[in-house]
């Protein structure tokens, strides 16, 4: 069973008075013949004196407070959502309470006050009140809340009125003082009474301290530093760094390709590129198969060389060179596919970008690499906008990964099919000249 703060205070006061009375009993009993009558009289006297002391304390409190004024609300919190409408109040005297309509029921500090159907009169009226309270100034809030009067649903209103008007009750902190004062007034200064009063006061202080601690009005606790760890520029910087990383990757691959062409490797690149264009499907299948077989082939090679006396010295070459050769084949294949993509792009109609169409391996590489890395660039650009277009950046990332995987597989297959570009697979001849030339000649 849960008790309200005022009920708890009353219980504490009664317990204290009873304790005082019982403890004082033996002292007074010495002067009376009937023990039962003496106890009853002493309890009556002690109770009366405690009540008088409490009344005096209340009067003193009222005197200190001056003329009675509207209750001061030091803190309020209002939450309105589809499922609940909640008002939390804290008054200057430390009293706090929560009033809510939640899940079709009215609540006061966790106590069910009855039905309050969603969309019903009480629910609507309560939500209107809270909506007005959200905009009300702190001075106007008590008056606004006090004036609320939902027809036919008094429970919530009564609790609210009680909260706002009910501060005439003695603050909990003064109860122990009142009891101590009562004991002093009653001249019941025996050791046991003193100890009891001191103990009650001490317990009271502990209760108050516990109640006053941990006041955080946390709506929804979460660890700090999660979503904002990287600062507000997180998305922008992440996107920007992604773009720069992709640009650097572009530069590195192009530099390798440039060096390869410059130092006479053009025919190998073109051979692999021709193969990739002429036998795309075959290259893809061979490339996928090779990617699965490369590790078994490496291991089998090691075993084969290891079991033969002649092959053992060759292991020294095989072990480091095989991975390097595979890596170079993949790189050559990727560059060649970029070259092929650039060639294909140049054959399209790009009237506004003539530089695309220049028949130069460097341009083919630039445009092809740009095409293949474009999804990653686009993804990072989209990322800069924050998480709003997360699905779009996800799609772009997936497209980029699939394109890269396909390019690597086709490239590796084409390298194998063309023996590193030395024997390009010749497919069907291109369907005449690129359309751009046809356009030019017809002009």
């Amino acid at each position: 069973m849960s008790l309200s703060r005022s009920e708890r205070s009353a219980v504490r006061l009664s317990v204290a008075v009873l304790a005082v009375a019982v403890a004082a009993g033996p002292a007074r009993a010495q002067n009376h013949a009937s023990p039962a009558g003496v106890v009853a009289r002493v309890v009556q006297q002690a109770t009366a004196r405690a009540e008088q002391a409490a009344a005096r304390a209340e009067q003193e409190q009222a005197r200190r407070r001056g003329p009675r004024e509207p209750q001061r609300i030091v803190s309020s919190e209002i939450q309105i959502s589809r499922d609940e409408a909640t008002l939390s109040l804290e008054l200057a005297n430390g009293r706090d309470a929560e009033f809510a309509i939640r899940d079709g029921r009215a609540w006061y500090d966790g106590e069910d006050l009855g039905e309050a159907a969603r969309g019903g009169d009480l629910d609507r009226s309560w939500r209107e009140l809270l909506a007005r309270a959200m905009d009300a100034s702190s001075d106007d809030l008590p008056g606004l809340l006090s004036s609320w009067n939902p027809a036919g649903h008094p429970a919530l209103d009564q609790q609210l009125e009680s909260m706002l008007d009910g501060l005439t009750e003695m603050p909990a902190a003064n109860i122990a003082e009142a009891v101590a004062q009562a004991a002093a007034d009653a001249d019941l200064s025996t050791d046991s009474v003193d100890r009891l009063v001191v103990r009650i006061s001490e317990l009271q202080r502990r209760v108050e301290r516990l109640q006053s601690e941990d006041f955080p009005v946390r709506v929804d606790a979460r660890s700090r530093g999660g979503w904002f760890t990287g600062g507000p520029l997180r998305h922008l910087f992440r996107g920007l760094s992604g773009v720069i990383s992709t640009a650097i990757l572009f530069g590195v691959i192009f530099a390798i390709a440039f060096a390869t062409i410059f130092f006479g490797g053009r025919r190998f690149i073109e051979g692999v590129a021709d193969t990739a264009r002429a036998a795309t499907t075959r290259s893809l299948l061979v490339g996928v198969a090779a990617s699965f077989l490369v590790i078994p082939a490496f291991v089998l090679g090691i075993i084969a060389l290891a079991i033969s006396i002649v092959g053992i010295p060759a292991l020294i070459v095989w072990v480091p060179l095989f991975p390097v050769a595979v890596g170079l084949a993949i790189l050559l294949g990727y560059i060649a596919v970029a070259h092929a993509a650039g060639e294909s792009l140049a054959e399209r109609r790009f009237y506004t970008a003539d530089w695309f169409q220049r028949g130069n391996s460097y341009y083919f590489l630039i445009s092809g690499l740009g095409l293949m890395l474009a999804p990653f660039i686009a993804m990072n650009v989209v990322r800069m906008a924050g998480p709003w277009l997360g699905f779009l950046s996800g799609i772009l990332l997936a497209v980029g990964i699939v394109m890269t995987w396909a390019a690597l597989s086709i490239g590796l297959g084409a390298v194998l099919l063309s023996r590193g570009g030395t024997r390009p697979v010749k497919g069907a001849a291109p369907s005449g000249e690129p359309e751009i030339y046809a356009e030019t000649t017809s002009a």
């Binding site: 919190e77 209002i78 929804d220 507000p232 922008l236 779009l392």
Partner: protein, 283 residues
Amino acid sequence: MRSKLVGYAVAAAALLAWPGPARAQDWRSITQMRQLTSDHEPLRVNIQYGAGTLEVSPGSAGLLYRASLRYDADAFRPEIDFHDGVLNLGLDDVRVRGRNVKAGEMKLQLGNQMPLDLHIEFGAARADLDLSGLRVQRFHLATGASETLLKFSKPNPEICELVELQIGAAKFQAIGLGNVNARVLDFSGGVGEVTLDFTGAWQQDLEARLKMGLGSLTLRVPRDVGMQVRKDGILVGFDSQGLIKRGDVYQSENWGSAERKLTVEIDAAFGSIRVVWIDADQN
């Protein structure tokens, strides 16, 4: 054949992008208000706000703070936490993938009877920060891709020990920086259009350290304030009208005689800097 493939690809992309069955957004509103209980207890305010609109303004007498949040509970998670003189406010985005999320709003009113230590960070937000008349002791502002208006229409009664403005890709306007009552202003801007207005009731000299990336920077300076500019950077256009170059600095004519002085150090790249002089009647 090719058109079929394109059709399949478009259909697949549409399926991937499909956000699932539409559902109503769960909009929630929270207002929390706290009255001042002790006049001189400083209040530290930490705001971390992802996206939406943000308003900060002065509140009524006796108010400590009044915070209002409105947000989609399916996509954001709020935080209002007051403890030991520290107010933490936040609106974190949680599940936004595949959802058409509408950004929320946050409004904060602050009392003008206690010293304030303001630490505000927000991302893609439109912010209106009116700190007029507030007792700001320290102010740190960091923004992402935002449109921000910062106003000091009334003088700050406190001496502001620190003003740090870190602005990302943004349109940023700071009005009435002369009212800030600060000795040093640190500004760091990324990309965007920035206006720093130094009008106001100057109570002490101000040193402004400005770092600007790509963009335009406009400095609005009262004509009665002496100004000295030291500029560093690459490919920066500097409209130095009203300033005289003396050695490696630019100085206003009244630099030697002005009661209040503004010293500006600019480190910028790929942008333009413009000084606009404001007459006293425009101030």
